[in-house]
C-alpha cells in the first residue's frame, strides 16, 4: 500500500450519501480493472484447457467458448496422445519421462556444484576471488548461442591442444561419443548454463548469514568443510529451493538446447514432441491441446505449490542493492 490514500479517512468523513457511493466505487475501481486483466491473461490458457477435453469434430466446428454453455467433454484426446503410438509417433508418457530425466539431474548437479563454490566466494579468502566472481556473474548475460557450436564439436571430437612451437597435438578430452546425442549431454550443458545464476543467487544469500555463527564455529576448531555441511547448507535451504525451482522450470521448458544436442528421435522431451506434433498439421489437430496441457501440467503444479520459492529466486536474481 504505497500510494493509496487512507480508506478509513474516506469512509469516516461526513460526505453526503451519493458522494460516498461515488468514492467507494472509485476506490474499488483498481480491483475491478485488475480482475479484468486477470481474465484477459487467463483466457488463452483456459481456451486450451477447455479444448483439450472436446471431441474432434466439435473443436473444428465451433469455438471453445460454446462448450461453456453446451458442455460436451471427453477424455479421448488424453488417452490417444498419452498411450497410443500412431504414425511413428511415440506415446507421450515416454516423452514425459524423458523430460523428467533431463530436468532432474540438470537441477540437482548445478545446485550441488554451485553450493560449494558460493560458500567459497562468500566466506573464504583467496587470490583473484573478486575477479573470478565478477567473471562468473558476467556470464549470466552470455547468450547460450555462443557455446553451441564448440560444445557440439566437443562431444563429437573431444578436445585437443597443439603444444606451442611443436607439431605435437595432445588429446586433452576424449570424444564423448557414448554421451553425444543423449539426454546426458543435455543435462551437462544445462549444468554449465545454469551455474552462473546459481552461484550468484547462493552467494548473495550465504553472505547475508550472520558472521558470528561462522566465526564461533571457526574458534571451536571446525574446519571449513564441517562448517559448510553442518551450518551453511541447512541454513541456505530457502536459497537452494529458490534456485532449484527456477532451474527445474527452465530445463523442463527448454526447447533449444534439447533440439541442438539430442539425436533426432532419441530421448525426445515434451517440448520437441509438441513441436513435432504441431508440425504434422491436419489429421490430429485435436491432439495438440491435450499434448500441450500434459507438457504444462508439471510446471504449473510446481509453480502453484512452490510459488513462494520461485518469486524469491526471481527477486534475489534481479533486485539487488
Amino acid at each position: 500500500m504505497a500510494v493509496t490514500s487512507k480508506p478509513e479517512s474516506i469512509l469516516g468523513s461526513p460526505l453526503e450519501p451519493t458522494g460516498l457511493r461515488m468514492k467507494r466505487f472509485l476506490g474499488a475501481l483498481p480491483t475491478w480493472v485488475l480482475w479484468l486483466v486477470v481474465v484477459v491473461w487467463t483466457i488463452p490458457t483456459l481456451g486450451l484447457f477447455v479444448s483439450s477435453f472436446r471431441p474432434v469434430d466439435e473443436i473444428q466446428k465451433s469455438g471453445w467458448w460454446t462448450a461453456l454453455w453446451r458442455p460436451d467433454f471427453t477424455l479421448d484426446n488424453y488417452n490417444d496422445i498419452l498411450f497410443k503410438t500412431t504414425g511413428g509417433r511415440d506415446a507421450l508418457w515416454e516423452s514425459f519421462l524423458n523430460s523428467l530425466a533431463i530436468a532432474v539431474p540438470a537441477t540437482v548437479i548445478p545446485v550441488l556444484v554451485a553450493a560449494f563454490a558460493a560458500y567459497a566466494f562468500a566466506w573464504m579468502d583467496f587470490r583473484f576471488k573478486n575477479w573470478i566472481f565478477v567473471g562468473i556473474v558476467s556470464l549470466m548475460a552470455l547468450p547460450n548461442q555462443m557455446a553451441f557450436v564448440p560444445l557440439l564439436r566437443l562431444f563429437r571430437d573431444g578436445a585437443s591442444w597443439t603444444l606451442p612451437l611443436t607439431d605435437i597435438t595432445l588429446k586433452i578430452i576424449p570424444s564423448l561419443s557414448a554421451v553425444q546425442g543423449t539426454s546426458v549431454s543435455v543435462w551437462l550443458v544445462h549444468t554449465a548454463f545454469g551455474l552462473p545464476l546459481a552461484i550468484f543467487l547462493l552467494h548473495n544469500f550465504m553472505s547475508t548469514l550472520p558472521k558470528d555463527i561462522i566465526e564461533a564455529a571457526r574458534i571451536d576448531g571446525a574446519s571449513h568443510f564441517v562448517i559448510f555441511y553442518r551450518l551453511i547448507l541447512p541454513l541456505s535451504r530457502p536459497a537452494l529451493a529458490a534456485f532449484a525451482v527456477f532451474q527445474f522450470l527452465w530445463t523442463w521448458n527448454d526447447y533449444l538446447v534439447a533440439l541442438i544436442f539430442l539425436q533426432p528421435g532419441q530421448d525426445t522431451p515434451l517440448t520437441i514432441a509438441l513441436v513435432n506434433l504441431v508440425g504434422e498439421r491436419g489429421s490430429n489437430f485435436q491432439l495438440r491441446f491435450s499434448a500441450a496441457f500434459v507438457s504444462m501440467s508439471l510446471p504449473l503444479l510446481v509453480f502453484f505449490s512452490l510459488q513462494k520459492h520461485f518469486v524469491r529466486g526471481l527477486l534475489a536474481g534481479s533486485v539487488k542493492g
Binding site: V37, P44, A141, Q145, K171, L188, L195, Q307
Partner: protein
C-alpha cells in the same frame, strides 16, 4: 522406464563419486600438517592419474587402465619425493599452504564446468566466426560477417537491410512520433512555467491547453489509423479512411516536424540558461516522450524488415511494453485494498512464466486460428467476424507483413509482463512510508507522489527489469520457431543461428551468435560494473 532408471542410477553414482572426491580432498587437507609428504603424494597421484589418462589416449603410455594407473603411480612417487624434500624447509607453514588449496577445492568443480562449458566455447565461437570454409577450419576471413551485413540475395540483404530507410520518414508511425515529441515539449514547458509561477504560469497553462486541444484530435486520428492499418487486410475498404487521410497528408507531416524541431531547440536553449526551462519530470510530458520514443522506434524497425532489425524490434517492443504493463499492473495491485485479491491476481498474471514458450506458441496459435469457412474457432477471428470485419491469418499470411511480427511479440509480452510486475511490485512496496508521508504532508497529489517520489525510488529496479528482459528477448527463438519458423519476414538472429547450425554451416552460425553477443555486450558491461560496486 529402464532408461529413466539407468539415467537416475548413473546420476546417483556420479554424484556419490564427486562427493567422495570432494570429502576425500577435504579430509586430506586436514592431514596436511601432520603428514605433509603423504599429502603432497596424494595430490601428485591425482595429477598423475589425469596425466596418465591423457598420455595413454595419445598412445605414449600403454592403453587403458594400465596407462592411467602408471601415471598415477608416477605422480605418487614424484609427489612423495617432493613432499619429503620440502617438509624440512617448510616446517610449520605446511598447514597454511594446505589451507590455501581449500578454496580451490570448493570452487574447482564450478570452475571446471564454467570454463569447459561456457568460457572456452565462447572464445572458440568468436575464433570460428572469423574463419573461412563451411565449418570454419580454413584461413582468417571476414566472409561470414560480410554475408550477414552486405551480401544481397535476390536484390536485397535479408539480414541487415538499410535500402528502404526513406520509407521511414513518410510512415504514419513516424509522424505520430514527431507529434508526440511536440506535444511533450509544450507540456514540459508549461509544467516548468507553473513552477516559476506568476503571469507566465497562466500563459503556460493556456499554451498547453491550446496545444492539447489542437493535437488531441490529430493523435486520436493517428491511433485510429494505426489500429485500422493493423486490423485491415489490404484492398479492404477502410472505415477510418477520412481520418487516415488527415494523418498521412504532407501538411500534418510538416506541422509535426516543426513542433518536434521547436521542442528540440527549446531543450537545447533550456540547458544553457534557466530562462527557458523544460520540466521533463512532469507526468504527461514524460509519458508522451516515452510514447514518442516507442513510436519512432516502431516506425523505423517495422519499415526496415530484416533479421537484425527484427531482433531489435522484438527487444524494443517486448522489453518496453512488458515493463510498462508490469508497472501499471504493479500499481493496480498495490491499490487494491484486499491482500488476498492482490496475491491471487498476481499469481494468475504471473502464471505464463511457468509455461514453456512452445506451449505458449500452441496456446496462441489457437487464439489466432483461422477457419477457411463457417464459424471461426479462434477467439480473435471470432471477435472480428462478430464485429463484421474480415478474418485474417495473423502471422501466417504474407499480407500481414510487417505486423505479423507484432502478433508473435504479443505472446512474449503475455509471458514477460508477469515477471516485470512481480519485481516492480516488490520495489514499490519497498518505498519507505516516511517518504510518502512527508510528500503527503507537503501537499503532493497522488499523481505527483507517484511521478516524483515512487518512480525515482524504483528507478534502479526498472533498469534491472529492462536489462534482464533485453537479455532474454535478444535470444528469442522458441516462439518464432514454433509459430512461423521465420517465414514471411519474421526471422530473428537466434533462428538464423540455429538454421545455419543444423545446415552444417558452423562458421556462419558462429558469426550470428557473435552478433547476438555483441548486442547484449553493453548490458554485460553494466552488470559487471554493478557487481563490482556491490563487492567493493
Amino acid at each position: 522406464m529402464e532408461q529413466i532408471l539407468s539415467v537416475l542410477i548413473s546420476v546417483g553414482i556420479g554424484a556419490v563419486l564427486a562427493l567422495v572426491l570432494f570429502v576425500g580432498f577435504n579430509v586430506l587437507l586436514e592431514q596436511a600438517a601432520t603428514r605433509w609428504p603423504w599429502f603432497v603424494a596424494a595430490v601428485g597421484a591425482m595429477v598423475g592419474l589425469v596425466f596418465g589418462a591423457i598420455m595413454q589416449h595419445n598412445g605414449w603410455f600403454p592403453a587403458g587402465l594400465v596407462g592411467i594407473l602408471l601415471g598415477g603411480v608416477l605422480g605418487l612417487g614424484v609427489g612423495f619425493l617432493l613432499g619429503v624434500v620440502s617438509a624440512k624447509s617448510l616446517g610449520r607453514d605446511a598447514t597454511q599452504i594446505a589451507e590455501k588449496f581449500r578454496p580451490w577445492v570448493f570452487i574447482g568443480p564450478a570452475l571446471l564446468f564454467v570454463t569447459v562449458g561456457l568460457v572456452g566455447p565462447a572464445i572458440s565461437t568468436m575464433i570460428i566466426s572469423f574463419r573461412g570454409g563451411k565449418s570454419g577450419d580454413e584461413g582468417v576471413t571476414l566472409d561470414n560477417y560480410r554475408t550477414i551485413f552486405t551480401d544481397k540475395i535476390a536484390g536485397t540483404n535479408q539480414f541487415f537491410n538499410v535500402d528502404n530507410i526513406g520509407d521511414v520518414f513518410t510512415s504514419r508511425l513516424f509522424i505520430a512520433g514527431l507529434l508526440f515529441c511536440g506535444v511533450a515539449g509544450i507540456l514540459a514547458r508549461a509544467s516548468a512555467m507553473r513552477f516559476v509561477g506568476g503571469s507566465t504560469a497562466r500563459t503556460g497553462s493556456l499554451l498547453s491547453r491550446l496545444g492539447i486541444g489542437a493535437l488531441v484530435a490529430v493523435v486520436v486520428a493517428m491511433i485510429a489509423g494505426l489500429i485500422e492499418g493493423i486490423v485491415r487486410e489490404p484492398n479492404e475498404s477502410a472505415i477510418f479512411d477520412v481520418l487516415t487521410v488527415i494523418v498521412s497528408s504532407p501538411v500534418t507531416l510538416f506541422i509535426a516536424a516543426i513542433l518536434a524541431a521547436l521542442t528540440l531547440v527549446a531543450s537545447f536553449i533550456g540547458r544553457r540558461s534557466d530562462a527557458f526551462e523544460l520540466d521533463w519530470g512532469s507526468p504527461t510530458a514524460s509519458l508522451l516522450v516515452v510514447g514518442a520514443v516507442i513510436l519512432l522506434l516502431f516506425s523505423f524497425l517495422s519499415t526496415m524488415q530484416a533479421v537484425v532489425w527484427n531482433n531489435l524490434w522484438w527487444v524494443a517492443s517486448v522489453a518496453g511494453l512488458s515493463t510498462v504493463f508490469g508497472l501499471l499492473l504493479a500499481i493496480l495491485a498495490d491499490r487494491t485494498r484486499n491482500n488476498r485479491v492482490e496475491v491471487t491476481a498476481k499469481a494468475m498474471i504471473f502464471m505464463p512464466m511457468a509455461i514453456s514458450m512452445v506451449g505458449a506458441a500452441v496456446i496462441w496459435d489457437f487464439m489466432y486460428e483461422k477457419q477457411p469457412s463457417g464459424d471461426q474457432t479462434g477467439l480473435f477471428n471470432a471477435l472480428l467476424q462478430a464485429m463484421g470485419f474480415e478474418t485474417r491469418g495473423f502471422f501466417i499470411n504474407a499480407s500481414m507483413i510487417p505486423w505479423n511480427n507484432i502478433w508473435i511479440m504479443v505472446i512474449m509480452i503475455w509471458i514477460q509482463t508477469g515477471f516485470a510486475m512481480v519485481i516492480l511490485s516488490a520495489a514499490i512496496k519497498g518505498v519507505p512510508d516516511e517518504l510518502l508521508e512527508a510528500a503527503r504532508v507537503d501537499g503532493a497529489t497522488e499523481t505527483q507522489m507517484f511521478w516524483r517520489v515512487v518512480i525515482p525510488q524504483i528507478k534502479s529496479t526498472i533498469v534491472v527489469v529492462v536489462t534482464t528482459l533485453v537479455i532474454i528477448v535478444m535470444k528469442v527463438f522458441d516462439l518464432v520457431k514454433a509459430t512461423t519458423g521465420g517465414a514471411n519476414r519474421t526471422n530473428v538472429l537466434a533462428n538464423e543461428m540455429f538454421d545455419n547450425l543444423s545446415g552444417g554451416r558452423f562458421a556462419l552460425s558462429s558469426a550470428f551468435a557473435v552478433v547476438i553477443f555483441a548486442l547484449v555486450l553493453p548490458i554485460m558491461v553494466i552488470n559487471v560494473n554493478r557487481t563490482r560496486k556491490e563487492l567493493a
